[in-house]
């Protein structure tokens, strides 16, 4: 730090500021837009200074969208609740299925083990649109389409591989001797799993759970095809703002702010786990 010249420090400051502005500006702009009316937003040139209004948030929360073409019912708050329910249920299910599976892949060598693990990861490679058509067809046959369970189930394609591969790395980092020691002290393998392996992989499980929550929350295309209006999450619900009388930029901005806030708060709260968790090798004896 101290060996750099003045010019170097200035250059670094400018470069940092540029990067920061480039990435942060859209977010700041959206935040500002959410407090403006549609007319204020569409002014050319745009103004930095404006009279803030809460009408956008009022409209979203009350569910009444007033446009020049008349009154429109929107179900944004319901979408928000849906997002919560769907993402949480998907992550809980993925943890219940994925953590024991990750343990198995980490600790035991079995036939086709690596192939199975890789196949699960490959779900993340395929573009979702590729599987959507067959998926929607047999979802209709099975009666899964437009059910919460159906969407939670399809979200496993997003959450399960992530949890499996991150948590597996964690389990592999725990010395098997620690579990052996616990078993020799008179505990069954199940107890060794729940009281030794899972707590020690805790930061990794938290990080994987958080990441998959965010990915599920941000998913658009699965819910668009497989869910009807009353089960749609916010990402799909935002389409409602493209109305006959024009695009409601103010409401869209407010909706974005509202839908980003929960994941942002969650990430901030869990930042410690995320950093600790994503930089593997957090377990030391």
């Amino acid at each position: 730090m101290d060996h750099s010249s003045l010019a170097g420090r200035i250059f670094r400051g400018v470069a940092l500021a540029l990067v920061l502005v480039f990435f942060m500006f859209p977010i700041v702009w959206i935040f500002l837009m959410s407090f403006q009316s549609n007319e204020q937003i569409l002014r050319i040139p745009p103004h930095i200074l404006f009279e803030p209004t809460l009408t956008n948030y009022q409209a979203l929360i009350s569910g009444q969208l007033r446009t020049t073409a008349g009154n429109l019912e929107i179900s944004f708050m319901r979408n928000l609740v849906n997002s919560f329910v769907l993402s949480s249920a998907a992550v809980i299910m993925a943890l219940l299925l994925g953590v024991p599976a990750a343990y198995a892949f980490a600790r035991f060598k079995f036939r086709l083990g690596e192939s199975i693990a890789f196949t699960l990861l490959s779900f993340r490679f395929a573009p979702p649109l590729l599987v959507l058509l067959p998926l929607s067809l047999y979802y209709q046959q099975l009666g899964l389409s437009d059910t919460y369970f159906g969407i939670v189930w399809v979200y496993q394609l997003i959450a399960l591989p992530l949890i499996l591969w991150i948590v597996r790395g964690y389990f592999e980092d725990i010395s098997p001797d620690i579990e052996h020691a616990y078993r020799l002290a008179g505990h069954t393998w199940r107890e060794a799993f729940t009281r030794i392996a899972v707590p020690l992989a805790g930061p990794g499980i938290a990080a994987a759970g958080l990441l998959s929550f965010i990915f599920c929350w941000n998913n658009f295309v699965f819910a668009l095809i497989l869910a009807s209006a009353d089960k749609q999450p916010v990402t799909v619900g935002a389409l409602a703002f493209v109305t006959a009388s024009g695009i409601q930029y103010g409401q869209i901005a407010a909706a974005i702010v509202l839908s980003v806030t929960p994941t942002l708060l969650l990430a901030l709260y869990a930042q410690r786990y995320l950093v600790e968790g994503l930089s593997l090798g957090a377990v030391k004896g």
Binding site: I178, H180, L184, A185, G186, H187, T188, K284, G285
Partner: protein, 367 residues
């Protein structure tokens, strides 16, 4: 109080044979050191007894009951690991108590943890997490955890490997009495022959998965079963020379670096033909006077080692031996010409083809 029996145990990993017909027994209250170079199958043997691996052949019995196939938690086996393997998310107290919670319920856990930690001098750190402990305290915590359940069989996998020299020395003195209190059958794996000699009642020497010698420490040192065992025991290690002993006038003798040396001692029948002659550096006498059986040599270098001086000697034929001299011996200096002598009783002879020791030198009766 149960005896540990290992019966013809064998185990292979692909082409690697890491246990080959291992058979021996450990009595309750006895400490057997399992000694050998790395890769000789010491740790694998412990892991088969602990139930992390199952033997391919043979049987392992505790108190006459086979434990092969039983899950680790039902084998009555306690173990201390080389890397401690403490539970990082539990305090030292809970680490130690983990063995009791499962077996004995909760009534006297506190008092037993207290007494075992007093014994091991870690009472003051019971509330600490493992990462706050020094390596020595970690090792003591791991030992307390292994001891507290009063296991029938106690396995110690090189427990002093990762602790500093001072503590290692201290533990070498403390461990035997500590282990004998538990009256468990103890297997103690180590790569340090001094540790094995200090702690064990008997030493089992493993080489390449085979039991090469099982005897009292003094016996292994004085009468190694093979040239490989002789090489592993002793620091500086034993001097070896290729000889062909012959029976002549005045008994058995051989050419060592061009000098005829008497080797006649005890029962040396069969000690003819190609042999290795082994003489420990401590058994060499270095003088300035020529005489019978004295091999001329030149001092190449002198290094202090512990309380002794170690001399590197070169013979006329170019071979080199080490001599360890007592502090009061007249120390020669480099480039001096000297004469080396050793008592016939201190010489060990090994068959060059099989590596096995031949003949009985009649000295150093096993104590």
């Amino acid at each position: 109080m149960a005896r540990l029996d290992i019966n013809a145990v064998g185990k292979s990993f692909g082409p690697v044979r890491c246990a080959d017909g291992l058979s021996f027994a450990v009595e309750p209250g006895e400490i057997v050191a399992v000694f050998g170079p790395s890769g000789s199958g010491k740790t694998m043997l412990l892991r088969m007894i602990a139930g992390m691996y199952e033997p391919d052949e043979g049987d392992i019995l505790v108190g006459g009951q086979s434990i092969v196939g039983a899950p680790p938690e039902r084998r009555g086996v306690g173990m201390a690991f080389q890397n401690f393997a403490l539970f990082p998310h539990m305090t030292a107290r809970n680490n130690i108590a983990s063995g009791l919670r499962a077996r004995a319920g909760n009534e006297d856990v506190a008092s037993r943890v207290k007494s075992i930690s007093k014994l091991l001098k870690i009472e003051h750190v019971l509330g600490h997490m493992p990462r706050e402990l020094s390596n020595g305290q970690k090792q003591r915590t791991a030992l307390a955890r292994a001891l507290i359940g009063n296991p029938d069989v106690l396995l110690l996998d090189d427990p002093l490997r990762n602790v500093d020299a001072k503590l290692r020395y201290e533990m070498r003195l403390e461990l035997p009495s500590l282990l004998r209190r538990s009256s468990a059958a103890v297997l103690y794996v180590t790569q340090d022959y001094r540790e094995a000699m200090a702690i064990a009642d008997r030493i089992a020497v493993l080489v390449g998965g085979r039991l090469v010698q099982l005897a009292r420490p003094e016996e292994v040192y004085a009468r190694p079963a093979s040239v490989a065992v002789a090489r592993l025991f002793g620091d500086p290690s034993i001097n070896l020379a290729e000889v062909e002993p012959q029976v002549g006038q005045g008994g058995l003798s051989a050419d060592v670096a061009g000098t005829r040396v008497r080797l006649d001692s005890g029962d040396r029948t069969g000690a003819q033909g190609p042999c290795w002659l082994g003489v420990r550096p401590d058994d060499l006498v270095v003088t300035r006077n020529a005489g019978d059986d004295a091999i001329p040599a030149r001092v190449v270098a002198i290094t202090p080692m512990h309380e002794r001086a170690v001399l590197l000697l070169r013979f006329a034929d170019g071979s080199e031996w080490l001599a360890a001299l007592a502090p009061d011996a007249p120390v020669a200096s480099a480039d001096d010409d000297v004469f080396v002598r050793f008592a016939p009783e201190s010489a060990l002879l090994f068959d060059r083809a099989t590596g096995l020791r031949v003949g009985q030198p009649d000295r150093r009766q096993a104590a």
